[in-house]
């Protein structure tokens, strides 16, 4: 059906489909606050919580691994990041209470454990090692956008220190109490630990926004002093009675595949994972890292990982069941439906339309599943392009036939090896040496 060709595409979307814009992401990259469908991967989420959170706390395990392996071992896209962000946010809501209870921890035990979680990702610009990554984790903890009721995690930890001690936050001596609690926590963590960074500590004690302090830190200092900033955060958590700190480390492949970092440096960084997570006495058993892994990172970092005697991340080794979780992507049309609805609902104009897949027809679901091979990121990107084209062309119903016509039976092209790399690299070296 072709209607409304004269209409603006957004007017068309609203009038024909009941949405005020295209709800799908144009790129297969997870946005900070993208919608989340809690029941899309129930088994995998349950394994994540049970193996990578609950077991890590109970076994004092420093590392867990989240894999994404779709058909042919390819990355499924979207799943890992979304799940890690969502679990971190759920943990921070109530210091991990609901998560641990849901995983089966006895209530009296739950009361003994408080958790916090941060999310940080390697990237190709500045975060290419564990020190800047830990700085990113501090930024996450200081950012009200990832907090509760616009209160960041660090601020909530400060409140918790006071509440647990029965001190009113408006008490004129509250700052002195916080300072004492921090020094006491530090002393308990290790009597010979180095002093904490004064800029961070002073602002925390005074109850000033930590974001102001972090914004002043230069790019080089984030790399040099990332661990020192994280160490203050860790002490804050300890002072608040939180003895299990989780850091989700995403995009490990950005460390693995960066051309400006030689193997010696990559090896050094992998060695630092061991030094910090397994050998630093006051972190041991209290700091838990969850790494995302997929084939590319495995190929590049696998031998370094083994050389540093870090725990195995092999998803096919049955002995790793307790510390490795594998996301397999979408497998049924029902999952596709749930995913589409989750995004469509974010832009619904009328509440009556919530929960329906309009403009998609049931026949579209299987085609989308096949085309994407179960990869969430690819499917969402396809959905974006389909709605955009349908709105431009004035097609009010999107069925399987329309999608096949639109893409002409073309499968999503697989990323291919760049055969010109060697030649262009030579040119680059020549230019740099001129």
């Amino acid at each position: 059906m072709t209607t409304g060709q004269q209409r603006d595409k957004y007017t068309f979307m609203e009038e024909e489909w009941g949405i005020d814009g295209n709800p799908f992401p144009s790129e297969a990259i997870e946005a900070t606050n993208g919608p989340y469908c809690d029941h899309l991967f129930p088994e995998e989420k349950s394994s994540f919580i049970s193996h990578l959170v609950y077991s890590a706390v109970m076994d004092r395990r420093p590392m867990g691994f989240l894999w994404s392996k779709g058909p042919g071992g390819r990355d499924t896209g979207f799943g890992k990041t979304t799940m890690m962000r969502n679990v971190a946010s759920q943990i921070n809501e109530d210091w991990g209470k609901r998560i641990l209870e849901g995983a089966g921890m006895r209530p009296e035990k739950v009361a003994e454990h408080k958790l916090i979680a941060m999310y940080a990702a390697m990237n190709t610009l500045s975060v290419a090692g564990i020190y800047p990554l830990l700085f990113s984790a501090v930024e996450y903890a200081a950012d009200p956008r990832y907090g509760v009721d616009n209160k960041c995690l660090i601020e909530r930890c400060r409140d918790l220190i006071l509440v647990e001690a029965g001190v009113d936050p408006s008490d004129p001596n509250a700052n002195d109490f916080i300072e004492g609690a921090m020094l006491n926590a530090r002393q308990t963590l290790g009597p010979t630990l180095p002093p904490m960074r004064s800029d961070f500590l002073d602002a925390f004690v005074a109850g000033e926004p930590i974001t102001d302090v972090l914004a002043e830190v230069s790019p080089a200092s984030r790399v040099r002093n990332g661990l020192a900033y994280f160490d203050v955060l860790f002490t804050i958590a300890y002072a608040a009675g939180i003895h299990d700190v989780f850091v989700s480390i995403d995009q490990l492949e950005d460390l693995a595949t960066r051309r400006d970092i030689g193997n010696a440096k990559k090896q050094r960084e992998v060695g630092r994972f061991r030094d910090i997570l397994s050998e630093t006495l006051h972190y041991k058993g209290r700091l838990h890292a969850i790494f995302t892994f997929h084939i590319r990172a495995q190929q590049q970092l696998g031998w370094m990982w083994r050389q540093e005697r870090l725990p195995s991340f092999d998803p096919d080794d049955p002995a790793n069941q307790g510390s490795v979780v594998v996301l397999r992507g979408l497998r049924t049309v029902d999952q596709v439906r749930d995913l589409l609805v989750t995004y469509l609902d974010t832009r619904r104009v009328n509440r009556a339309d919530v929960g329906i897949i309009r403009p998609f027809e049931p026949s579209a679901l299987d085609i989308l599943l096949q085309r994407s091979e179960g990869r969430v990121g690819i499917l969402l990107q396809d959905a974006y392009r389909i709605l955009d084209s349908a709105a431009l062309q004035g097609h009010s119903r999107v069925d399987g036939g329309y999608i096949q016509d639109l893409f002409g039976g073309r499968a999503e092209p697989a990323a291919q090896q760049d055969t010109t790399t060697t030649e262009s690299q030579t040119d680059i070296v020549d230019r740099l040496l001129q």
Partner: protein, 246 residues
């Protein structure tokens, strides 16, 4: 980056890293002279001179420099140290003050052009001294780390993100440019006065640059090793042949 300065620093770096001059440092000074000569210097001054190209210092004190070379509008004032214990705080402070004494004389005589200061050491230099050099615009050359002007000339090229961490390039460029500045840029003449910007190179920035210098040097040498193995070894051989080191 000034090409003459970069070329000179590369020659000094090759000497510092690959040559084994005789004890006492005199051969080292002679090598430095030859290196200056080999890079098309238009005016040259060797050791034992107590003036700068015939000009006395502002105070009248008779300072000896190991070398000075000029090409177009650029002059390099240099000192070469080949001491077992490396460059000391005294060495760098003396070099700083005597070159400054000459600079005042240059300003009084309204001499045009830019004057860079390069202190070369055949042994590694202490980190605290490196920071002193950054603050006052003295370029240090030593065997264990690639000199700032070489790294700066690479970071100014479009493909530099193939070599260095992209997120740190901007900060490195800013700080390293100050640390490698000519006397005229660090001590800016304003009428009868010289202005020294005390806000530049604060304590944190000196620490940052100390870190970045090592990091960027490592990145560059690693990049060269991966893509052009023996590049600097071959350049050293060519230079040594040219200046007669066997």
């Amino acid at each position: 980056m000034n090409r003459f300065l970069t070329d000179f620093c590369e020659a000094a770096y090759l000497l510092a890293r690959f040559s084994s001059p005789q004890e006492g440092g005199y051969a080292w000074q002679a090598f430095m002279q030859e290196a200056l000569h080999s890079y098309d210097a238009m005016a040259l001054q060797g050791p034992y001179n107590l003036q700068l190209f015939g000009m006395a210092s502002a105070s009248g004190a008779r300072h000896e420099l190991d070398g000075a070379a000029g090409a177009l509008h650029t002059t390099i004032l240099t000192e070469a140290k080949h001491l077992q214990q490396g460059i000391t705080k005294d060495d760098i402070c003396v070099f700083d003050r005597k070159t400054f004494d000459y600079y005042i004389a240059l300003v009084r005589r309204h001499v045009a052009g830019v004057h860079y200061r390069v202190l070369s050491s055949a042994t590694p230099v202490d980190a605290l001294l490196r920071k002193y050099a950054f603050l006052f615009g003295i370029t240090l050359v030593e065997p264990s780390i690639c000199p700032l002007p070489i790294l700066l000339s690479v970071t100014e090229k479009a493909d530099c993100d193939e070599v260095f961490p992209e997120g740190l390039i901007g900060q490195f460029l800013g700080l390293a440019s100050h640390a490698s500045a000519a006397l005229e840029q660090r001590y800016v003449q304003e009428g009868r006065y010289l202005r020294f910007d005390t806000r530049v190179m604060g304590e944190d920035e000196l620490d940052d640059l100390e870190f970045l210098h090592k990091e960027f040097s490592e990145c560059w040498l690693d990049f060269i090793d991966r893509n052009r193995p023996n590049y600097y070894e071959q350049k050293a051989e060519e230079l040594f042949t040219r200046i007669g080191i066997t």
